[in-house]
């Protein structure tokens, strides 16, 4: 099994790692039993634009790389645009993933969606 250069780059130098202190949306998917947990933090501004985003991931190289790539792909986008993010777009941006690792990209997509859902829910509560 081998990873693309892009995957290794995102694994080695992951973008937007850590916890966003002023996040107003947080999504978490996966479980440690399966070996992957992804947590996505977003900060959406009043115009509905994802101003900042970060992630924390427990998982394999592909899990880290897909999280990192997903944060890059939604940063600066509106939440509606971000909701259109698909796992295959993440895979494509990473120049492919080994078949056994495609599920990691699904997790990334789900984490983004959950973070946005969380943001919307919090907004309603306000």
């Amino acid at each position: 099994m081998s990873y693309s250069k892009k995957v290794l780059d995102h694994f080695q130098c992951p973008r937007n790692v850590g916890e966003l202190e002023d996040a107003n949306g947080i999504g978490m998917v996966g479980n440690a039993k399966c070996g992957d947990i992804m947590q996505m933090f977003i900060k959406v501004n009043d115009d509905g634009i994802i101003e900042d985003v970060s992630f924390k991931t427990f998982g394999c190289g592909a899990a880290v790389a897909t999280s990192s790539m997903a944060t890059e792909m939604i940063k600066g986008k509106t939440i509606d645009e971000a909701l259109k993010l698909t796992n295959s777009a993440v895979v494509e941006a990473l120049e492919g993933l080994p078949p056994a690792k495609v599920h990691c990209s699904v997790l990334a997509e789900e984490a983004v969606k959950l973070a946005i859902e969380d943001y919307k829910k919090k907004k309603e509560e306000l």
């Binding site: 694994f11 790692v17 850590g18 998917v29 479980n31 440690a32 039993k33 924390k56 599920h103 789900e110």
Partner: protein
Amino acid sequence: MKVYLDNAATTAMSKEVLEEMLPFFSEVYGNPSSVHSFGQASKNALDTARARVATALGAKPSEIIFTGGGTEADNAAILGVAQKLQKKGKHIITTAIEHHAVLHACEKLEKEGFTVTYLPVDEFGLVTASQVEQAIKDDTILVTIMYANNEVGTIMPISEIGAVCNARGILFHTDAVQAVGHIHIDVVEQNIDLLSLSAHKLHGPKGVGALYMKKGTNLPPFIYGGAQEFKRRAGTENVAGIVGLGKAIELATASIDENAKKQTAMRDRLIDGILKNIPEVKLNGHPTKRLPNNVNVSIKYIEGESILLMLDINGIAASSGSACTSGSLDPSHVLLALGLSHETAHGSVRLTLSEYNTYEEIDYTIKTLETITQRLRAMSPLYNPTTKSFSKDENTHSH
């Protein structure tokens, strides 16, 4: 710095072994079955290799059958006993932590109507002879238990198990792929009837191994054709490979104590260094009944493949008990059998030494692993105390 710490996967071939093999790729090319001098030269080389393997095990040369490796030897032994003794009985005893070469052969037999007892192991990976004794039934035809585990390095009580099998008249096979050339083996003293070994785990070539088959065991052929290998494994012999196995096993046995001493010292320095410098790490396997070259640790809150990739980026070759790489999301069956949780098993790393490693490499590995752990934990949602409200077993996503 380039550090190779995956010697349980395969070893670097020794230069002496290579030199011994080289003539058999070109100058000495006769078919060992031919009567002419060309053939006899090859035949003599096979005889020498066979004698060397036999000596290393305390066996007779006529009890050594060369194979295409350890897996083939395991299959030949297990399927051969089943085929030969199926009228006598259809029960086999093994352990939960065998190599897949044994487990999958047993599973094949289960599909054919055999029953297999997979003995559980304790937290260190050990089975006891009394467990074996209690599992024996009237129709038990074979006990197959590995000499030493490939993942966690635990050395099984082979002599005691051999004694039980001998007393009960049941054939005993041991997959000794990780043990041969590393620890002393005597098939007669230990009552071993069948034993599998592989050349590339002891600085020999890949694709060649042997099955020791005690005189009188008389298993059926596992490849049909010519009369090679006492009519058990037909086909023109891999002469160069067999010569390499013979030389490798001779060299390994000659320096077995010296190598074990050197590796044990490096192993313990590596274990102590990891346990001392990295918090929340667990040593897997037995603290002392352990192969001289095996280190296996679980590093909490981080995942095995990520550790391996980071180690590789830093020049260190290791392996992981996490089967994520093989496309299955289940961690290693061995670590789970030892009672590790899925989470802990996912964060396991195996570092296996050879006598070619140095203390400098060990110290570099400890330091690198410490840095990597800090880096990966910093990005792990399991490590941050503020996320503890999320249960680690929460099934927000199911595979």
